[in-house]
Symmetry: C2
Subunit: 461 residues, 2 copies
């Protein structure tokens, strides 16, 4: 155990709260400052990101503090995607192999659970209603507004973790340092959350164990189940244009649009118009930056250094994996925090960039490709390849979701596999064609090539 | 002629000064605000970007206000690159065809000339020593510090052009609007300016009509001639690492490094150590952003919306071309400024992105590839192709430098030509091999393919 540090965490969200537990376990004293009130006492943020998909990387981080099973119990497994076409016909596509699922969890519920777990720890103290206004990184001096008293408070931060999300004020201070690399890019789409309440019998009005998608080419709606029997739907929709948030102005516009586009959802959404016109439009931003640290004084983590769009369901999982990776590095830590931070940011940056790019790419898959029978056939063929060559071929989605292979490796390998699949699919009209000798021969040849490449890449990982 | 506007330009640099002339010609009243004192009265910015390469796009914009020839007279044509190896051996590579050159001009001299031309115009007023501190875009309200009086001044900006460079305060205000796309990325290299004074006879100590390059793999030095007989050298060098700005601490370090690396330059640089240790290290940033305008109230132009690294010599040329394009659009202007701004930014953004990427790529060419005989042979072969097929093949460098084809078209066409050159060069060991039947046949076939593609692209341009 190295020297006990007084650590400040900005942000008591999912990543900040989980991080506090890991750091306290290592013997450090942690103070968490959070802009908002204690979410366990006051209901916040109606209409914004009510549930999230938790997958293997996230569970791994929860395992480290012993709450994996407890969380799994209040999460709803989603075994695959359920596509709804314009006539209300359903098609199901499993995410992975038998037993592989992603889990719908309540963001607020999980956050509260992490707070409940950490708050009794004598080494962890929460300070709510404290908004970071200004940060002098060199002097380690933070100025906060105490929203309970209205007063300004000054804070010396011996060591600071910025877990304060996509619009991080800690990152904002880093951006003012010399030669800082930074980008923020917005999709021309926003999102709006809508609700499907529980059915009359209290159960779920749609198949419970699936992520529902209404793919409509350049936009889409999705729905994830909640444990109370409801679904939270999210409409991803252009800000402007012929069919867009801008073009839908009245209840009639809305109803006509839904009747044409999502007819099977209308009877399930009694409060559609009210939800639609009272909920805010969320924006979809990707943030990339570098470096993530300032000397041995501050480190960004989670969305603060790599906010991604939600289409791979990996935002929270990637933030949790930051903690797993940092904790692994602490196993062999020599006491030099600055070099630890540098090692961490160098290790994680390529993976953060990869999941950011994957997430943008997956929007196209979800809103468009999943409606294409050829695409679904290809997914089945990939499943067969994985079955036949479990060590040599894991589909991209599975690498990202059901393994902890580095995201950057998954992206690279996925590209190689994509090239091979294009060749293979030329010979495939139906699943049965997979067994044809020419397909088997082609695949074998391609896999040998791929293995050579993979061996080379593995050295880099 | 549309309604006469009161136009504010922030920044009296090259782009701001030239823009004022174009706008006044259209009948508008222009006020230019500049943070620094009048550069014609006070010598500024020693050691930073003393000369620049002016090429066709820049001259075209100067032609529009009738000073092309006057500028050409005080500029030094550089017909090609002169490479210096570690033994001081020289190799020359022409930039284009006979008569095609880029021109070394004094940044301060050109800026002063533009000011001298515009200041007597009763519709153009310069306000020096005015620093933009804050800008409220919605209210069109600018707050400036008057550095002569120390007072704050408020300004209503009926229409504002932000020509205030890579660290633009006008852009800074736009960045605070909703869903603003922005990126700044720095190379891990800095630059330092050094001087080769005139020879004893008052002439140039190196070949005058060339851009000199000392390519050294991952870093390089270049030199451009000035009209007083001197050269301004720029060392592009890593910030950190074994050989870097960080590693060179003493006069001895510096001398040893130059003796090993640039031995032929040492006798020409009597003030090397003084220059090196007193001049600042400049940083190399690429800025991309979108949109460039705010309603009908403000428009960014030049470096303010597309700062690029200097390796293609196109920063000023691209900014001047913004003005040419805007002026062309004003020819058919219907009086709707907001839609003009939107049309302008949509038209220019792909070209600004392209030249930014080309400039980063050209750093590798200059510091590394130009030292490779195979690369120089390839350039010669490309020259032959251009000679044989003048309408079908213009080398990438020439498209960028000696034409006004859109940068984005040049980048795309350059990529196609690069693929073809890879195939062609497999058959080439010397320039004479160009005439071999198999080379001629291959080229003909590839050009047919390329023409088809080009026809398709031309429709998009």
């Amino acid at each position: 155990m190295t020297e006990r540090k007084n650590i400040t965490i900005m942000g008591a969200g999912l990543v900040g709260s989980l991080l506090s537990l890991y750091l306290a376990k290592r013997g450090h004293k942690v103070d968490i400052y959070e802009r908002r009130p204690d979410m366990r006492k006051i209901l916040l943020d109606g209409g914004r990101s009510i549930n999230l998909a938790l997958s293997d990387r996230g569970f791994k981080a929860l395992r480290g503090i012993g709450i994996e099973e407890a969380v799994r119990k209040v999460a709803i497994p989603m075994h695959g995607r359920m596509m709804h076409d314009e006539q209300g016909n359903l098609t199901f596509q499993p995410y992975g192999k038998e037993g592989q699922s992603i889990y719908s969890v309540s963001r607020a519920g999980l956050n509260a659970a992490l707070m409940d777990l950490s708050e009794p720890n004598p080494d962890i103290t929460y300070h709510f209603n404290r908004q970071l206004l200004d940060l002098d990184l060199r002097q380690s001096k933070a100025t906060l507004r105490n929203h309970e008293t209205g007063e300004l408070e000054e804070l010396h931060t011996e060591m600071l973790f910025g877990a304060d999300g996509a619009f991080s004020m800690v990152r904002n201070a880093m951006q003012k340092t010399e030669r800082y690399n930074y980008s923020q890019s917005y999709l021309e789409y926003g999102y709006k959350e809508l609700t499907i309440p529980p059915a009359e019998d209290g159960g779920w009005a749609l198949e419970k164990n699936a992520l529902h998608i209404w793919p409509r080419g350049n936009y889409m709606m999705i729905a994830l189940p909640n444990i109370d029997g409801s679904f939270t739907c999210t409409l991803f929709f252009p800000y402007e244009g012929e069919l867009s948030f801008e073009s839908i102005k009245t209840d009639d516009d809305l109803l006509n649009f839904f009747l044409q586009t999502f007819p099977d959802a209308i009877p399930l959404m009694p409060d559609l118009a009210e939800d639609y016109f009272s909920n805010p439009i969320g924006s979809l931003v990707t943030v990339k930056c570098f470096p993530w640290s300032f000397e041995d004084k501050a480190l960004l983590i989670g969305d603060a250094c790599h906010a991604v769009v939600p289409f791979y369901g990996q935002g929270m999982n990637a933030g949790f994996e930051d903690i797993t990776v940092l904790d692994q590095m602490l196993d062999t830590f020599d006491g030099d925090w600055e070099s630890l931070f540098k090692k961490f940011e160098r290790r994680r940056k390529p993976d953060a960039d990869a999941i950011a790019d994957l997430a943008v790419m997956n929007f196209i898959e979800m809103r468009d490709k999943v409606a294409d029978p050829r695409f679904l056939l290809r997914k089945k063929i990939e499943g067969r390849i994985n079955q036949q060559y479990p060590d040599k071929w894991i589909p991209l989605y599975s690498m990202v979701t059901f393994t902890d292979l580095p995201y950057s490796y998954a992206l690279e390998t996925g590209r190689e596999q994509d090239k091979i699949m294009k060749k293979v699919m030329k010979h495939i009209k139906a699943v049965e064609d997979y067994d044809k000798p020419e397909v088997q021969k082609l695949l074998e040849k391609q896999l040998v090539k791929k293995e050579k490449l993979k061996g080379y890449q593995a050295e880099k990982v």
